[in-house]
C-alpha cells in the first residue's frame, strides 16, 4: 500500500516538471529550426529545386558546415566520411559533429556507400545543382527578373523606407489598439487576412467581451526588433498559406528572391501566376514591397524584405549616412533608472508604458522611470527581463552608443540598471507553499503511473518523480485520489 504523508510541500516555481502546466512564451524560430521541425525530407527535396531557397539554406548553415559543402560542391564522387572528419581540427570535434548532424537533418547531404564498403557523404543532387546554378550560372532566371522599361516615376530608398515602416506600424498599432481611435495619421485598419494570421499565431485572441485583444505572446512580440517581428510574422503566414491554396515552395522561393534583391531597384511581376500575385498583394499590405497600383507590372522590395532571416546583414549594410534616414534610436537610460524617449509615436509610448512608469509627456519627449512595480507588472504579463533589456538596447539613442565605444563595454546601457532588471526578475523565483500529501513506496510502476495520471486528470497533481515513484497531491484532492486508489486496487492489480 502506498504510503501517504501530509504536510506542507514547498516547491520552487523555477523548476517545473513537464506535466504541470506552465504559461507559454513566444517562440521565435530561425529558418533552420523551421525547416527541421516542420518539413519532411520529401518536401525538403521539393524545396531544393528552387535556387533562392538553397542559397538561403546555405547561408543559414553553421560555418564549418558551409566550408564542407563548398569543398564537395565541385566533386562528383561521394567523399568518404573518414576524409570529411579529417578536415576539421581535433579541438573542434564537437562543433564538427553539430555541423554534420545539421547537414543530415536538413537533407543537404546523405549517406551512401562507395565501392570498398566505406560510408561516404554525398550532396543531394538537387541541392548541388541549385547551388552550382546560383554560383556559376546556367538554368532558368528567377521569376521576377524579367527586363523592364525604365520606370517613369522611380522611387528612391527614402520613400521606400518610410512606406515600409508606416505599413508595418499599422499592424503593430492594431495590436496595441491605438490605431484609428485617436484619429492619428496611421488610421488605416488592416485587412482581415492579417487579423487571421495574428489570431493563428496566438498574438491576439478573440474574446467574447472585448473583441480581439492582445495576448501575452503578443506583448513579447512587440518588444522584438522589427526584423525579428517581420520574420516571425512571415513564418506564421507560411504556415497558413497551404490553407489558402498557395503552394509553399513557390511562396518560400518568392520570399527569398525578395530577400536577396537589391534595394532601390524595381522588379517585374510579369509571368507570375495568380497565387503569387495574391502573395505579392499581401506583402504589399505588410510593407515588404511597394507597388503603385495593383495591376502594375513592377514592384520595389523594401528594406523589411531584404535579408529577412539575417539581422546582422542588415545592420552591417547600413552606412553612417543611411542610418540617419532610418529609424534612429530614441531612448536614453540613465543610471538613476530614468528613461527618456524622444518620440511622439503612440505605439512607442504604449510599448514603453508596458514596463516603465510614465511620468511626464511633452510634444517630443516622454519621461518615465523604471521602478520595481512597473517592471514586475511587465514580468507578470509574460515579458522577460532579457526582452526588456534588448528592447532598450535596440532603440538606444546614438549618444548612448558613443559612451559604449568610449568605455568599451558590451552593452550601451548602464550596467547597474541592467543588473537590477535581471534581479527583479530573479526575485520572482520564490518558494510557494502548497499543502499536499505525499504518495510513495508504490509496489509497481503501473500502479504509480495509473494513479499519477488520474491525479493529473483531476488537476490535483502538484509534483511527481517517475524514478523514485513519488508524487504529491493537493490536500483537497486527497480524498478523491484515495477513493480511486481503493477502487483500483480492489478491481485489478
Amino acid at each position: 500500500m502506498a504510503d501517504t504523508k501530509s504536510g506542507r510541500f514547498a516547491s520552487s516555481s523555477a523548476a517545473i516538471s513537464p506535466l504541470v502546466q506552465s504559461p507559454e512564451n513566444l517562440e521565435c524560430k530561425n529558418f533552420q529550426e523551421y525547416l527541421r521541425t516542420r518539413q519532411t525530407p520529401e518536401t525538403l527535396e521539393k524545396l531544393y529545386n528552387y535556387p533562392p531557397i538553397c542559397l538561403a539554406v546555405y547561408r543559414e548553415l553553421p560555418e564549418i558546415a558551409r566550408q564542407f559543402v563548398i569543398r564537395i560542391l565541385f566533386v562528383d564522387q561521394p567523399v568518404p566520411q573518414a576524409v570529411v572528419t579529417s578536415w576539421g581540427a581535433q579541438r573542434v570535434a564537437k562543433e564538427q559533429m553539430e555541423a554534420t548532424s545539421c547537414l543530415t537533418a536538413l537533407c543537404v547531404w546523405r549517406v551512401t556507400a562507395i565501392p570498398g564498403g566505406l560510408a561516404a557523404w554525398e550532396l543531394s543532387p538537387t541541392f548541388k545543382k541549385s547551388v552550382r546554378q546560383v554560383l556559376l550560372g546556367g538554368g532558368k532566371p528567377w521569376a521576377m527578373t524579367n527586363t523592364l522599361d525604365k520606370d517613369s516615376k522611380p522611387r528612391d530608398i527614402t520613400f521606400l523606407d518610410s512606406y515600409a515602416m508606416s505599413r508595418w506600424r499599422c499592424v503593430l498599432h492594431y495590436m496595441v489598439g491605438t490605431g484609428g481611435r485617436n484619429g492619428g495619421t496611421d488610421a488605416e485598419a488592416i485587412s482581415p487576412d492579417a487579423v487571421r494570421i495574428l489570431l493563428h499565431a496566438n498574438l491576439m485572441k478573440r474574446d467574447e467581451r472585448d473583441g480581439i485583444t492582445i495576448t501575452r505572446q503578443g506583448f513579447q512580440f512587440l518588444l522584438l526588433d522589427t526584423r525579428a517581428q517581420v520574420w516571425h510574422f512571415m513564418l506564421q503566414y507560411l504556415e497558413t498559406c497551404e490553407e489558402r491554396g498557395i503552394s509553399l515552395p513557390e511562396c518560400l522561393s518568392m520570399l527569398f528572391q525578395l530577400s536577396f534583391s537589391t534595394l532601390g531597384r524595381d522588379y517585374s511581376s510579369e509571368g507570375m501566376n495568380s497565387q503569387m500575385l495574391t502573395f505579392l498583394q499581401h506583402l504589399r499590405e505588410f510593407g515588404l514591397v511597394f507597388q503603385r497600383k495593383r495591376k502594375e507590372g513592377r514592384f520595389y522590395p523594401t528594406r523589411l524584405a531584404l535579408n529577412v532571416t539575417n539581422k546582422d546583414a542588415a545592420q552591417a549594410s547600413t552606412t553612417a549616412d543611411e542610418e540617419r534616414m532610418q529609424e534612429r534610436g530614441y531612448i536614453v537610460v540613465e543610471t538613476n533608472y530614468r528613461v527618456y524617449a524622444y518620440t511622439d509615436s503612440q505605439l512607442q509610448v504604449a510599448v514603453l508604458g508596458l514596463f516603465t512608469e510614465l511620468l511626464y509627456r511633452f510634444p517630443n519627449l516622454v519621461v518615465g522611470v523604471l521602478t520595481r512595480d512597473s517592471v514586475r507588472q511587465a514580468l507578470r504579463g509574460g515579458i522577460t527581463a532579457e526582452q526588456i533589456v534588448s528592447y532598450l538596447e535596440q532603440y538606444a539613442h546614438p549618444n548612448m552608443k558613443l559612451v559604449e565605444s568610449a568605455i568599451q563595454s558590451k552593452s550601451c546601457l548602464p550596467p547597474t540598471v541592467v543588473d537590477q532588471i535581471k534581479l527583479w526578475e530573479l526575485e520572482r523565483n520564490r518558494f510557494t507553499y502548497t499543502e499536499g500529501v505525499v504518495y510513495n513506496q508504490f509496489l509497481s510502476q503501473n500502479d504509480f503511473v495509473t494513479l499519477r495520471d488520474y491525479a493529473q486528470s483531476i488537476n490535483m497533481l502538484v509534483w511527481q518523480n517517475e524514478r523514485t515513484r513519488t508524487m504529491v497531491v493537493q490536500k483537497n484532492g486527497h480524498d478523491d485520489v484515495k477513493r480511486y486508489w481503493k477502487k483500483y486496487s480492489k478491481s485489478g492489480g
Binding site: P62, E63, I70, A316, A320
Partner: protein, 300 residues
Amino acid sequence: MEIPDVAASKEAEASIDLLAIVLDTNPSQQIVRQNPQNLTQILEAVIAFGNAHLMQKAQNKLAVLSCSHYTTEFLFPLPGRHVELRQIDGQYEAFSLVEKTVKQQLGSILMNAPRLSAPCESLLAGSMSMALCYISRLQRNVPAGVKMHSRILVLTGSNECASQYMTYMNVFFTAQKLGIVVDTCALDKTLSLLQQGCDITNGQFLKVNQLDGLLQYLLWVFLPSPQMRHKLVLPPTPKVDYRASCFCHRELIDIGYVCSVCLSVFCKYSPICTTCHTIFKTPGPLPVKPKKKKKTDKQI
C-alpha cells in the same frame, strides 16, 4: 570552455569579411606566354572564388584589383559605374554583377595595353598598397558596433622583383599593424618575399603546380576566414628564414656588421660603408695584458 567559443563564433557570424584579391594580369608572366588561355582559366577561377566568398554571408564584401604591366586598376567595385543588369540565367544577380564587371573592365584594360616589347615586372607591392588604402577607407566608414575583418589574396605567376623590397616590407608591416592578413597563391615560382609577408601577417602561402585544380585549391585553403582557420586542417606553414644577406657577396650570414647610419649589412669589417660612404671610427688597438712568466718552467 564552451561559452567563449560560442560567443566568439556568434561574433564571427555577425562580422563583415572583406576580401581583396590582387590578380597579376601581366602578359609577360611565363604561364601566360606559354598559353594565353591560362589567363582566362585563372580569371574564371578567381571570379568563382570571389562569388563563393560573397555567398558565405550576406554582409561579406569583395574587391578585385588587376596588376598589369602598365597600370594597376580596380576591376570591382567600380563606383560611379552603373551597370543595368538583369538575370539571364539562374545565377544570383549580385554574382552576375561581379562576373560581368570584372570581365568587362579587364577586357578594356587589355585592349588599351601598349605593346609589350620586353618582359616587364609586375608592380605587385604597389597594388597591395592600393588595396590597403581601399581597405582602410572601408574600415573608417564601418557603422558603430560592427566589426570588419579584412584580408588580401595575391595571385601571381611572376618572379619576385628585388627592387620592390622596400615597398613590400612597408606593406607587410602596415598590414600587420592593421590586423590585415596577407595570403599568397603562387602559380609558378616560389616567392620568398611574399612568403615572409604571409608569415609576418599570419597568412597562408600556397604554391599551386597545376592550373586545372586552381579553383579547388582556392576554395580549400583561402576561403575560410582567418578567424576560423584554426578550426580546419590546412597545409602547414614552412619556417621562414629571416637571416639577412650581406651586401658585398649576397650570401646569407649568421653574424655580420651593420652600419649605424644606413643599416646596411656587411660580412666583414671595412673602414668605409659602401652605401652611405660614412667613415667609421676604427677601434683602437686592444690593450694587451703583459704575460706573466711562469717561474716553474724556467727554473728547472
